[in-house]
Amino acid sequence: MDLAGFDLPTLWFWIVAALFIGYFVLDGFDFGVGMTLQFLGRDDVDRRVLINTIGPVWDLNETWVIVAGAALFAAFPEWYATLFSGFYLALLVILLALIARGVSFEYRHQRPEASWKARFDLMIIIGSAVPAMLWGVAFANIVQGVPLDAEHNYIGTFFDLLSPYALLGGLTTLMLFFTHGAVFVTLKTAGEIRERAQRLAARSGAITVVVAAAFLLWTGFAHGAGWFWPLAAVAAASLVAALLANLRGAEGVSFTFMAVSIATAVAALFAALFPDVMPASNDAANGLTIENAASSPYTLTVMSWTALIFLPLILAYQGWTYWVFRKRITRQTIENAELDQSAAEEAAR
């Protein structure tokens, strides 16, 4: 039962990192698919194909951020308190976007009218693009450091969070998730929409490489330390590999490399942050570190055992879920389901 030999706060720093990595890799392609509605969804059937690629999994993907937030609260209360109160308006916008996106998946198909569906399509697109961008802005600010007072309270304004570096971070996650989503569509669909997704991924991928390289280089020169460079190098190489695989039509390989690229890029940001968790840009003494932000050893021990037992189980049943829904979605899938439904309605009359 004794985990005292381990450096538990550091372990939890990396567990929090792992939960955010899980969130960005998984909900990242949800955001991407949501945004591609604008580019790939030529008619209602197309849009339904796109939405149904993530239909069974968007909720479990989004749950990663809830668990990441709860883990932050439990393992690093100071970090959680400073971050969430400091980034108040940014998080408010993220919350509203996630609300809009989440209800739209469920509400969109409840009525047949085109105007009804168009409204929720728009909410899905905006509700995907906004958090995809703002999470990058938030994490860039964490790495860069923000002004904190001696009680670790954020003393800047909302607009202080929109520095050029932070906006570049936002653009990076926006483009990464967009490409990730487009590649996911190539993996999960068949037919003409898949070819269009492939071309879209190639084009957005080219922009992503430039933006991501600029962001990683800036981060490296300003804050790079420890494991940052090797992780960033893997992230960059994986991104390029993903795009090459996409050009060759190897969508499984491409998707895997996109996932690795996002995972290592987020890990690189955490490596750049380590051993701080919320550095203060005005006075280093006001910053939060793993040490001064962590919970007590007892709490971390309880949580460590829980995570140790349940995380493998969670990964197993989530992996199985992806296996159950491995089949590609086509226009035929949607049209068949439509026929089934109208047959049932016919029978009811």
Binding site: G69, S85, L89, S295
Partner: protein, 474 residues
């Protein structure tokens, strides 16, 4: 203007409104997951089409509601840090643990298996697919346990020690935290109340169709199930509510005194329960009341000659314990919310029991010369009123905790984020009000529409003669 932009007041309003709003969806999620699982089990066992119809019909209501529960739940978790950062700093070591356990043990389970259930009809073997909805149901109940254990810490802090150097409460015994006596009573009380609300929705939906003489073959069994569920859940809610009030008297006597607006300590027959009171606006002088002698003593101590401490005595005790200050909750809120909770709850149980009698053995409800339309009309109001009982119950328990955030440890005013301005909270409060208000209208219309559409007839496999659910897509 400054008063309008008081961050503390605005943050309290925001937390109250968003929590109540979130909890409009929670009871249906908890109760309906189990109900749908029961209908689906009946279908798998008997192969009767009507049970599949009911599974799909109530499953649709469940899902319309589920999405709202999920997205409004994220707001709840973020809000502790956003608006209550000092609270988060002070209790995070203790309070964060049940939230993290809730996420790891319950939320992942719910979110994953709900997707498997919705889209797995034609992809999983029948029994495995049935298991997914039971797992969702178990996940909802489990998550309720952790969140109520966290809430119970605010009502009755246990399992912690104060670390003076760090200025915070630290967890010393997770087991003590999870078996908080308040949680052990509040959890079943809340869960069964959730089943009352779900029963309310089932009764309302079924009554709407039966009043029009349609879908009798499916809506009649649904109505009977709803009525039985209401009566049984009401009995259990009452029983555990009684347990909860016992532990409340032991841990938060001020809340009980405020529930009854008992200003002076009273014993025996004087410890009466007032069904209705009119008083002067300050609440200290009673003008008229209807009282049941002994009942308050019975409720608080389970004996006829028990004593109930009054607000004035308790206020004095708390002043010597915690220093000068006002330790009394807002009496008119606690007094009336307590009565509305009990009154609405008991009325539901009584009306459902009458309903069971009137519809026994396949009868059409008939009562004296009351037109059947009126009887069905009463049944249709079951859902909004049971939801109302749930809401006033939460208002009572949280307003009765005031002026404390964590009882005896942290006053509410000390928990608010010091660096979030009144303007920022006003912006978020307005944003949430507009978005939540709009969604409430959309949600309400969709639920009504799904109810009115009625159960669909599933297609039957020609070879096996079995009803086959269609492929589900968004």
């Amino acid at each position: 203007m400054n008063e309008l932009l008081d961050p503390l007041l605005l943050a309290r309003w925001q937390f109250g409104l968003t929590t109540i709003y979130h909890f409009l969806f929670v009871p249906i999620t908890i109760g309906m997951a189990t109900t749908v699982a029961i209908f689906q089990t009946a279908w798998v066992r008997t192969d009767k089409v009507v049970y599949l119809q009911l599974t799909r019909f109530f499953g649709t209501l469940f899902l319309i509601n589920f999405a709202m529960g999920v997205v409004t739940g994220i707001v709840q978790e973020f809000q502790f840090g956003m608006n209550w950062s000092e609270y988060s700093r002070f209790v995070g070591d203790v309070f964060g643990a049940p939230l993290a356990l809730e996420g790891l043990l319950a939320f992942f389970l719910e979110a994953t298996f709900i997707g498997l259930w919705i889209f797995g009809w034609d992809k999983l073997p029948r029994r495995l697919h049935l298991a997914t909805i039971w797992i969702v149901a178990a996940g909802t109940v489990l998550s309720a346990y952790f969140i109520i254990a966290a809430n119970a810490f605010m009502q009755n802090p246990v399992g912690y020690a104060i670390n003076e150097a760090k200025g915070r409460a630290e967890l010393v015994d997770i087991w003590e935290l999870l078996t908080n006596p308040v949680a052990l009573a509040a959890f079943p009380h809340t869960i069964f109340a959730c089943f009352m609300v779900t029963a309310g929705l089932i009764i309302s939906a079924a009554a709407w169709h039966l009043a029009r003489g349609q879908h009798r073959e499916s809506m009649r069994p649904a109505l009977r199930l709803g009525l039985w569920m209401m009566v049984i859940a009401a009995a259990l809610t009452t029983f555990f509510g009684d347990q909860l009030s016992l532990s409340m008297v032991a841990t938060q006597p001020m809340k009980m005194a405020a529930a009854e607006a008992t200003f002076n300590t009273v014993c025996g027959a004087d410890a009466s329960f007032s069904v209705f009171t009119l008083g002067t606006p300050d609440g200290y002088t009673e003008l008229f009341s209807i009282r049941i002698p002994y009942l308050l003593s019975l409720l608080s101590t389970h004996s006829l000659d028990g004593c109930v401490e009054g607000i004035i005595d308790l206020q004095g005790q708390y002043e010597s314990l915690y220093g000068p200050g006002d330790y009394t909750p807002i009496i008119w809120i606690t007094y009336w919310s307590f009565r509305w909770m009990i009154g609405l709850g008991l009325a539901h149980a009584a009306i459902a029991a009458v309903g069971l009698w009137l519809t026994r053995g396949g009868r059409e409800p008939r009562l004296f010369r009351i037109p059947p339309r009126l009887i069905w009309g009463v049944a249709i109001w079951s859902f909004p009123l049971s939801l109302g009982a749930m809401i006033v119950g939460w208002i009572f328990t949280e307003m009765g905790r005031q002026p404390w955030l964590v009882f005896g440890l942290l006053p509410t005013e000390s928990g608010v984020s010091p660096n979030v301005s009144g303007l920022e909270v006003l912006i978020s409060l307005v944003a949430f009000t507009l978005v939540y208000g709009t969604l409430a209208v959309v949600e309400f219309r969709l639920i009504v529409r799904a109810i009115q559409k009625g159960p669909a007839t599933p297609s039957v496999d020609e070879q096996t003669g079995r009803a086959e659910p269609a492929t589900t897509v968004y």
